[in-house]
């Protein structure tokens, strides 16, 4: 029982991290109808920027304090993500308005290739570390309740907490601010939003920026967990089933979907994996999402699909 709970909690915490990446997809899809395959590349780019700047800044400015260097690096990386978002809107999206979904998907794949290449050209392609002072050693809790207690990874726990905070902040931003309201209006109906004077282009830049910041946070967390390297882009591939499971247009869907996929993945790997040779995590997540989709084709919280001839 204790072991099962451990697996379950581990799954929930990984799931929270998946939701963080999935959130980036959902934000952009909601506001611009673009399925952004470049999200993984953005995560890698942001993490690379963060890792390298926190390494370079002490040398440039003579700052010894790790905390200050990290904060400065975060600000610079966030600014970089803003520039990337602005360029993407300016150079690509603006010219592809009203194209088909498949064309837009391919365009973001092109962007992904470009950002991958750019990031590695500018920042190098070795494995880098991000050290934001996350505690590494696991702790035991609830020793009184179970025999042996539960082993919980502190790092995962903090990461999940950060993810939850970010999600809450985003929810507040969407519900309470004027910009958030404009974003929701654009998501509902482009033309109607435009006709009441909401500037579409600026909204798109904002939403790509927000997605960029989300990518930065995801990059920092995943990067300090796994090390910043090219394989970070595959994190986005693992977040895709989360997106379709929760529904492409739903922020809560991304969270719930992430938790379901996280738990499903861990439980299947631990209990089913040994029977078939292990390594089943990644396709199992997709299969799980597929099974849900067979019952609800628009995802758990997606908008209902209505067909008219």
């Amino acid at each position: 029982m204790g072991f099962f709970l451990e697996v379950l909690i581990g799954g929930l915490m990984t799931g929270m991290l998946y939701s963080l990446v999935a959130l980036g997809f959902v934000l952009i899809f909601k506001a611009s109808g673009v399925f952004n395959f470049a999200q993984g590349a953005m995560v890698l780019f942001a993490a690379l920027a963060m890792a390298r700047f926190s390494e370079w800044i002490p040398g440039w400015l003579g700052v010894e304090n790790l905390m200050v260097a990290n904060i400065l690096a975060f600000i610079i990386a966030a600014f970089l993500m803003f520039v990337v978002a602005w360029l993407i809107e300016r150079l690509v999206l603006r010219h592809l308005v009203n194209q088909e979904g498949a064309t837009l998907l391919m365009a973001t794949l092109g962007i992904a290739y470009f950002i991958d290449g750019l990031g590695q050209t500018v920042f190098g392609s070795d494995i880098y570390k991000i050290d934001v002072g996350m505690p590494k050693e696991p702790v035991m809790v609830l020793q009184g309740v179970f025999e042996g207690g539960l082993l919980i990874n502190k790092e995962d726990f903090i990461a999940a907490l950060v993810a939850a905070l970010l999600v809450a902040a985003l929810a507040l931003f969407f519900q309470k601010t004027a910009t958030g309201r404009a974003l929701r209006a654009v998501a509902d109906d482009h033309q109607a939003a435009q006709s009441i004077g909401i500037p579409l282009n600026r909204i798109w830049v904002i939403v790509w920026c927000v997605a960029g910041i989300v990518a930065l946070v995801a990059g920092i967390i995943w990067g300090s967990k796994l090390g910043v390297q090219f394989s970070l882009v595959t994190v986005a591939l693992r977040a895709l089933p989360v997106v379709i499971l929760g529904g492409l247009t739903s922020v809560p869907g991304a969270i719930i979907g992430g938790l379901i996929i996280g738990v499903g993945e861990k439980v299947s790997e631990v209990y089913l994996g040994p029977l078939v040779g292990g390594g089943i995590e990644i396709w199992f997540a997709y299969m799980l999402a597929l099974v849900f989709l067979l019952f609800r084709p628009q995802g758990l919280f997606g908008e209902k699909i209505i067909d008219r001839v």
């Binding site: 992904a112 591939l237 299969m287 989709l293």
Partner: protein, 358 residues
Amino acid sequence: MIYRENGQFKTSYAADQQIFPILQDRWAILGILAFAFIAVPLLADEYLFRAILIPFLILSLAALGVNLLVGYCGQITLGAGAFMAVGAYAAYNFFVRVDDMPLLAALLLGGATSAAVGVVFGVPSLRVRGLYLAVATLAAQFFWDWAFLRIKWFTNDSSSGSVSVSNLSVFGWDLKSPTDVYLFCLAVLVVFALLAKNMTRGAIGRQWMAIRDMDVAAEVIGIRPMYAKLSAFAVSSFFLGVAGGLWGFVHLGAWEPAAFSLDRSFQLLFMVIIGGLGSIMGSFFGAAFIVILPIFLNQMLPWLGDLVGVSISTAGVSHAEIMIFGALIVFFLIVEPHGIARLWSTAKEKLRLWPFPH
């Protein structure tokens, strides 16, 4: 010799319905075929065969398969590479486990296996549509990547899924030199391209297109969505399976699952979108573009670097290559979202009026 159909009267149904209704087109196609079958083997050297021509032919075949599904039936797939892998490994199993299995039969059986698998993975398309389906097809990709790596039976107990074949021959014709391989691939491609063209002109192709344009409306006028969608998956996977078999058997000779990774699926999708969705010709254009571009960049960049006095490291070249590749794809999508095939048909329209456009 002006490109114009004036004076070419069709006097029979057969003449009216032929694939190339314009005489000049027929001559052009015959010329291209003659060039490909006779002139190219005389002119090309081994590097050209191995690096460009053979990959181009095989990937054209795969792009044809993807185009039938994505371009004609409107079902976006990101799992094309998986079906190539299924074709290749199924053909390998038939080839190795059955005594005296002819190469051609193994390839076709590989294609058939891939078709069956394609139908199974096409089932979600009956419920799920658009981008959701695109992501769902990734399931096929990841599942088969895993299966060929971990399940020993599929790969005849070889470690990490790497297998190899040798002594290939078709009807007593040894496929040894690159020229032989080229001619074999070309022959297969011609047959399959003709098949694809005729399928899209026939009843089944029209059903696919109706489903693509609006599946609810298609259902109302009496097209069975299940039959149409699953048949598109089956045919597409069959093409992909045969292409995968060719890629493994005659191009690589020895391969592992990474040869058919997710990148391959993306590459194939790039081909059909850049070439032109819903166009047989477009598949060839797209394949040529995607095969030649990286090689071209690879050769050009160090040369350009020398020109301005900067020597670029190998890693730098490969990164710059990805960057330029991505940028060019975006550029292409912006300039011509309907692909090279659209440019081609515009050019043909213009040519028909030339030199008297008014």
